[in-house]
Symmetry: C5
Subunit: 86 residues, 5 copies
């Protein structure tokens, strides 16, 4: 799982039936080595918020029993990160 | 999920039975860090269109109950992207 | 599987129901080519410890029969590594 | 899915029972950013041929109902690629 | 699938129950672009041997019907590689 920031959303009229009714957000990873990508959202996050996202097959677990063809999902809103040892 | 552009297609006569009848499109990711790749399509997109694609195991969800050996599927046509906060 | 070090944790109030009650640790991979990421933990590790983690779909196996939308899990605490041939 | 060329094969006497009887080919991706890797084959391709391969969990779908521990499979032989818009 | 060399092993007393009794080997990929990683082993390989490994969800197929939280498994010992066309 990683941390990113919501920076926008994507509008798509023609799409897979399992994506209907889902907001498709643009997420910028906090780690600059990765490019922005698109994610679905199960916690109601919005632009400017710092979020926790998961990628890959596990991203679709948040929508079970539906099999959504999605490989990135926002699963939490981050309050703060505590570094204890570095 | 990511955004790309359809730039061509691939013709293959000898292929896995589960790929028969599927158009195999060439997609160029909008993010220049990745190379073009091949994807199946469930929304009828064509050359020049900006599309939304998903990769990995989830890409094959769009074809359930068939188990298609495909790891990239076009699942939407993008109307526009709205950046709200960057 | 890879080796990393626990360097902190993440606090998130609003999150997916399957993540409730789980500690979300920040892990720094020993291999410097990768950036720190977030992982769940099934062995009770803490800050400063060297741990063994697994990523991807397999990371969620540690929580079966629950389907946790998590793609990185700490599955062991490392005592030592023995290089035999390099 | 991606395109590569078959450049050799690998001989292994001691292997997982599910890999017995499978030819293990060496594939060089057309995209030079990736290194050659090993793939199983369901279409009877051979050295010098341009092939279509799929990676990850989906690669093993070509062998269902067997669960083959394989993460790359050649699923088609490429006749030609048509670039329509670039 | 890829080829690597076994260069050591990892000792971990506290670990996920499904990893108990498994040898956790350190593998160096032949392709220098990747860093060494940890893998389980189903073919009895040892230090110095050239091995065939698979990664991702498929790596755990070698342990079915157990669901082992492992994303890299050694599935063969390589006798030799024959390059036919490069």
């Amino acid at each position: 799982m990683n941390i990113g920031r919501v920076i926008g959303n994507t509008v798509s009229t023609v799409k897979d039936p399992n994506l209907k009714g889902q907001k498709i957000l643009v997420v910028e990873p906090l780690d600059n080595r990765e490019a922005p990508f698109l994610a679905l959202d199960v916690v109601g996050s919005g632009a400017g918020e710092t979020v926790l996202y998961t990628t890959g097959r596990e991203a679709s677990f948040a929508f079970l029993p539906e099999f959504v063809p999605c490989n990135a999902t926002i699963v939490g809103i981050v309050d703060y990160i505590r570094e204890e040892d570095k």
